[in-house]
């Protein structure tokens, strides 16, 4: 049995040598995969376990993982599992740590998941900057082939499993699952019209599950220890632990794996050591550049970090890339950075995002250069509102979150910037 202490995912904190396959195997690693395959476990049973565990997608949307798996069309073959390792949300750096420090658990998780959706091929789509990591993963895949964990006739059964890594070329949009699939197919990374969703029509128009690295890294332990074990962590609707990537104006930035529902205050002050120079906290971006900016008052600090509670303070948990803003941060400066980012990363496929991100950027530039007026701020807000709800994918929607919340919640920062 695998030992689990404080961490489910970042287990290298307890088992420093877990990146060594022998150490991982000595801890019971790959036994779950072996058991699942060699006993020819019913994939439906696996889907049910994951569904019952309450595991939700860690990439940002928080969609129930087991439910997504159940949507896979069993009348259309083959099926594919695609691992989203594009990790490109500014402020998110959890998947990389999981893959680098606890690789075998990650692999076992995706392998059990592939079996559960009756897929024989797994594609790991990595952001282009992860080329060193991709190299290591490739070596590890080769090692697993030698160990008899991948390939044909696994454990004497008819089951075959292969893993391939694929590097992106540096586009934020390729973290969006359908743009990722386009890119994986060798096309330009632009999102597809949905529906149909990937479990019906995915990679090469075949049923495909696209899940985040962190999501799938949980799966082998959930299957080993059961749905109820996993439900012991976190809250009723947000089960399990989550790796929070803490950054910004905190003393100890880094990845912290905590049960979902842990309040912001505990993450920031207990684990993060508080604000640099002990200055007052001003705002929180819970989901990287895609976040609305939360006014960091007591109510917000005491809000549990889970999928249901964060919306109460006007934001989303997203991928839990928590960026801390203190009183030195001017929100007009901040949204100039986020709009610039979204302008740069907009794929250009749909009008409101392509043109809107461009427009918002030029307005924030004007405001930042102190050439703007209050009318420019009002226009900026209106442009953001006009983008919202009309874009093809969520990226365009995300580009407005920081802008709208900054103008609404931190009006003083804009007053100070514009010509009266």
């Amino acid at each position: 049995m695998s030992k689990v202490d404080k961490h489910i995912l970042l287990r290298h904190h307890e088992i420093p040598d877990i990146a060594n396959i022998k150490t991982y195997q000595a801890d019971g690693g790959f036994e779950t995969f072996r058991k699942v395959v060699s006993t020819k476990m019913d994939p439906v049973e696996l889907k049910n376990i994951v569904h019952d565990s309450g595991l939700r997608g860690r990439g940002g949307a928080g969609f129930p993982t087991g439910l997504k798996w159940k949507f896979v069309d069993d009348n259309n073959w083959p099926h594919y599992l695609v691992v989203n390792a594009d990790e490109s949300e500014p402020g998110t750096f959890k998947d990389r740590e999981i893959m680098e420090k606890n690789p075998w658990q990650f692999f076992e998780g995706i392998m059990v998941s592939a079996y559960a959706i009756s897929a024989n091929d797994i594609y790991i789509y990595l952001r282009g900057e992860f080329w060193e990591l991709a190299h290591v993963l490739d070596e590890q895949i080769e090692l697993m082939k030698k160990e008899g964990l991948l390939g044909k006739n696994l454990f004497g059964t008819e089951y075959e499993l292969n893993i391939f890594t694929h590097l992106g070329a540096g586009a934020y949009i390729c973290g969006e699952e359908t743009a990722l699939l386009e890119s994986l197919e060798g096309k330009m990374g632009q999102p597809r019209v949905r529906p149909p969703f990937p479990p019906a029509v995915g990679l090469y128009a075949k049923p495909t599950v696209v899940n985040n690295v962190e999501t799938l890294a949980n799966v082998s332990l959930i299957v080993e220890k059961g749905a109820n074990w996993y439900r012991k962590f976190g809250t009723e609707k947000s089960a399990g632990t989550k790796v929070f990537s803490l950054s910004g104006r905190v003393k100890n930035p880094g990845n912290y794996e905590l049960p979902l529902g842990t309040p912001f205050r505990e993450l920031i002050y207990e684990h993060g050591g508080g604000i640099i120079d002990d200055r007052p906290i001003k705002g929180i971006m819970a989901a990287g550049a895609s976040s609305s900016i939360i006014v960091a008052d007591d109510k917000a600090l005491d809000t549990p970090m889970d999928y249901e509670s964060v919306p109460d303070v006007g934001a989303q948990l997203g991928s839990a890339s928590v960026i801390i803003l203190d009183d030195t941060v001017d929100m007009s400066w901040l949204i100039n950075k986020t709009t610039h980012f979204f302008k740069h990363e907009s794929c250009g496929k749909c009008t409101p995002c392509r043109e809107g991100a461009f427009w918002m950027t030029s307005l924030t530039e004007r405001i930042r250069s102190k050439k703007g007026t209050m009318e420019d701020v009002i226009l900026l807000e209106d442009v953001a509102k006009n983008i919202k709800g009309k874009t093809l994918c969520a990226l365009g929607e995300f580009s407005t979150e920081a802008v709208l919340s900054a103008i609404e919640r931190f009006p003083d920062d804009f007053d100070a910037q514009v010509n009266k």
Binding site: C347, G348, K349, P352, N386
Partner: protein, 837 residues
């Protein structure tokens, strides 16, 4: 299976759009359903011929669905009506299909505001250069700006991006990068519709730009269509840019006479100072005919009009005085012609080309018959008589072919010979039709063919006879045993409907005749005759060869001798003297009359030259390879002294005591319908009939279908093949075998961009013309020490020429492809000598 499909496709659902209760087939997109109901939903990226992509977001609508009780699943009622729940956000009408009980709303403030927002975004990066933009006046963006745009811009004009405005994507299409709204219609057209993704997007976000990936740029026969469907002035054609404003021009319906598809076109004309006050053609646009060319044109057809020049026209009858031709009057010329014709009597021949109208052919044939002469056709393809027997059944529309049907292409590079046929067969393949190709080399049609039978040049007839199961008298067992041929024969024979397209790839006249007989036999044997979407299509290399056959003209194996022995040759609309052998023969002909629009090589040696009219200057009809008879109308006035061919012939006939109609083409057609049985039921009024077509294009809403013209002047009529009950008898014969005495065998093939008069005379098309070339097998070339692209010397039919060598791996050893009209005259396969230089 088909029943299930039919049921599935015909299932209708009820919904309301803007309070109008409508019924539409399940699966119809909201934008299309609205269109059917007469409600316009604005679009930029959506086009009814392509898959929806939901990019531009202009077609926003509010979509509501009937609410259902979670437990019982029953519809919740409110005041006797289903309670409707609308989505939180607006939806794009181009990506959502209609369903039962759906409520679509497009007129509310919320929807209007949504569309206004999208339009404002689009305009934030669009230049304000409508006054100098070619699209101005027929521009979807301009029109929708009037509908949804704000009176003033909130975007700072100083911050607009400035991009290159004159980018030649290729020789025929120019791109204005500032105007592009990134709708991807052009790139999707090239990819989805014509399978030639030579243009695409580069970069991303607001930097997204159309670029070409091919060398030469935008290397496609279809590029002009992208300009029609471009919803802004980003893509303009080389012939028309800065040429005229849409509202200054008149529209004249016509039919393209570049190949035997007979695409429907509209000529836009304008009277202008720079043309000396003349009414001139400014551009050719597709005219919708869903049974022929849909809303598309190939580039050769689109730009061919530019080859007609005012300067090189014949405008006056000419008569020979010693070594020179001098101008004369019609009276004198016609008197002399009649006198000489009468003298020749039975020893006269009429020789016609493939681009005259049915009315011209009819009158010429009547005159020839009156004198007892021969009606000859200057053509190297045969089989028009068989097409009139087993051609496509009335009511055929390749667009109706799909699952369960088969299409056989033999001896044809279909895209080069008849681009629209290629496109239509491709689409049939995409709908599930089994395409069988029996060619001696790779062509672009191979990409969608399921059965690719690679034959040797010379085996065309053998392979078809093998498929027909003909055993006696032919030595083709080796093909009949071929597994691929067997499989293809089975599919063809068992298909619900089957069509054969036979072309002229590698064939001369005798080969063509044998092949056409074999094809007719195969169709008859497999009972694929006399029904819609069954039958034979000859992929003629001229626009109206089928019409010429129908009116009684036949090609001759002994044309040179026929001319040589004739006392009088009446040469209309063709240039036999451009071929050495015929030129020699004509010099022996006692009296040569040429009736044409230009001073051709034959005219230069003629005794009398009569100035005729170009088809854009007069009325007439053509009969397509699918035996569709279609009218064309005058677009521009003819030079004063010229006359239409049928009229000139009638005037000669009158002097020979034969009364032929000369007043109008429509009246000639009445005579024709009386004497030519297949045309009996037709007249000009019937040919001008139009029925409702889908998609509905060319109305006020140019945003939906592009600038292709609505067809208001006639869809034409398909005439029925003779065969309804009788079957084609097959007379056993041994197909001629191509003998190869020498090392290399030259075979004639067709290329769309040849060096014929259309290409050479058009300044627009000229850059697309290749230098004279032949194609060799790669291994042969290696042996000869010839590399791709180098100059080589070839000797064919006693003539030596220097040409470029092109290489092709798919070609059999010892074969040399010689494109027709490419500088080296070739009519039949024959020996060729090749020397490296």
């Amino acid at each position: 299976m088909t029943e299930v499909l039919e049921e599935k496709t015909t299932k209708l659902v009820n919904l309301t759009i803007d309070n109008l209760e409508i019924t539409a087939p399940e699966g119809t997109l909201i934008v299309d359903a609205a269109k059917l109901a007469g409600i316009d939903i604005p679009v930029f990226c959506y086009h009814p011929k392509m898959e929806p992509v939901g990019m531009c977001r202009m077609c926003l609508v509010d979509v509501g669905m009937p609410m259902r009780d979670r437990d019982t699943g029953e519809t919740i009622m409110e005041k006797g009506k289903p309670k409707i729940q609308f989505g939180r956000e607006l939806q794009t009408g181009c990506t959502v299909s209609v369903s039962e009980g759906m409520v679509v709303v497009g007129y509310t403030e919320k929807v209007k505001k949504g569309r206004q927002d999208i339009l404002e975004f689009l305009l934030s990066s669009h230049p304000l250069d409508c006054p100098i933009c070619d699209k101005g006046g027929e521009c979807p963006l301009q029109n929708l700006t009037i509908g949804y745009g704000s009176g003033e811009s909130r975007f700072d004009l100083e911050e607009k991006q400035h991009l290159a405005k004159h980018v030649p994507l290729g020789d025929l299409i120019w791109l204005d990068r500032e105007r592009c709204i990134q709708c991807a219609r052009c790139t999707r057209f090239q990819d989805e519709i014509v399978d030639q993704p030579v243009i695409g997007f580069q970069n991303r976000g607001r930097k997204l730009q159309i670029v070409t990936f091919s060398e030469p740029g935008f290397d496609s026969y279809w590029s002009g269509n992208t300009s029609d469907i471009c919803p802004v002035g980003a893509l303009t054609t080389a012939d028309f840019r800065f040429g005229a404003r849409p509202w200054e021009m008149q529209a004249s319906a016509s039919v393209c006479n570049q190949c035997s598809v007979n695409c429907n076109i509209t000529f836009n004309t304008r009277r202008e100072a720079k043309s000396g006050g003349d009414l001139v053609i400014k551009r050719a646009m597709p005219r919708q005919n869903e049974e022929v060319n849909e809303v598309w044109l190939c580039d050769k057809g689109r730009f061919a009009y530019t080859s007609v020049k005012k300067d090189d026209r014949l405008t006056q009858p000419l008569i020979r005085e010693g070594e020179t031709l001098v101008e004369t009057t019609w009276e004198k010329a016609l008197d002399l012609v009649a006198e000489k014709a009468k003298e020749a009597g039975k020893e006269m021949v009429s020789l016609v080309g493939g681009r005259l109208s049915n009315e011209d052919y009819f009158n010429i044939n009547q005159l020839t018959a009156h004198l007892g002469g021969k009606s000859l056709l200057n053509s190297e393809m045969a089989g028009g008589d068989l097409v009139s027997q087993v051609g496509l059944g009335t009511g055929s529309n390749i667009a109706d072919m799909g699952q369960g049907d088969a299409i056989l292409i033999v001896a044809s590079d279909l895209e080069e010979e008849a681009p629209l046929f290629w496109l239509r067969v491709k689409q049939a393949a995409e709908r599930g039709a089994e395409v069988i190709i029996a060619n001696a080399r790779e062509t672009r049609a191979d990409r969608f063919a399921k059965y690719k039978i690679r034959i040797a040049f010379g085996q065309e007839t053998a392979v078809i006879l093998s498929m027909a199961g003909a055993k006696e008298g032919i030595a083709v067992e080796f093909l009949a045993d071929d597994a691929k041929v067997k499989a293809a024969a089975k599919v063809f024979s068992e298909a619900n409907n089957a069509v054969i397209y036979y072309g002229s790839d590698g064939l001369g006249l005798s080969g063509s005749e044998e092949l056409s007989k074999a094809c007719a036999f195969l169709l008859s044997e497999t009972k694929h005759t006399g029904r819609p979407n069954n039958g034979l299509v000859a992929v003629w290399n001229k626009a109206n060869l089928q019409g010429a056959w129908d009116m009684g003209f036949r090609p001759s194996e002994t044309l040179a001798a026929d001319l040589k022995n004739a006392k009088f040759a009446y040469v209309v609309g063709n240039d036999p003297a451009s071929k050495d052998i015929l030129e020699k023969s004509l010099k022996d002909t006692d009296f040569v009359v040429v009736q044409d629009v230009r001073l051709s090589e034959t005219a230069e040696i003629a005794d009398v030259v009569l100035p005729a009219q170009v088809y854009t200057e007069r009325e007439g009809t053509y009969t397509s390879a699918e035996r569709r008879v279609q009218r064309f109308y005058p677009a521009v006035p003819a030079p004063e002294m010229t006359k239409p061919d049928y009229k000139i012939t009638a005037k000669i006939a009158k002097r020979l005591d034969l009364s032929l109609e000369k007043i109008a083409a429509s009246l000639v057609f009445l005579d024709l319908a009386e004497k030519v049985a297949d045309y009996a039921e037709l007249d000009y009024v019937r040919l001008a009939e139009v029925t409702e077509q889908w998609p509905i294009i060319g109305r006020d809403d140019l945003f939906y279908g592009g600038t292709s013209y609505q067809n208001t002047q006639g869809l034409g009529k398909q005439i029925s093949p003779a065969i309804e009950t009788e079957t084609i008898k097959y007379e056993a014969f041994v197909p001629s075998v191509l003998s190869k005495k020498d090392e290399f065998l030259a075979v004639p093939v067709t290329t769309l961009y040849d060096r014929g008069s259309t290409m050479l005379s058009s300044e627009v098309l000229q850059p697309r013309i290749a230098d004279p070339y032949v194609i060799l097998n790669t291994a042969d070339a290696e042996k000869l020490g010839v590399e791709a692209g180098v100059q080589i010397s070839v000797k064919l039919n006693g003539k030596t020429a220097n040409v470029t060598a092109k290489l092709d791996d798919s070609l059999a050893k010892g074969i040399v492809l010689v494109p027709r009209s490419m500088g080296i005259p070739i009519s039949d396969p024959g020996s060729i000598t090749i020397k490296a230089k």
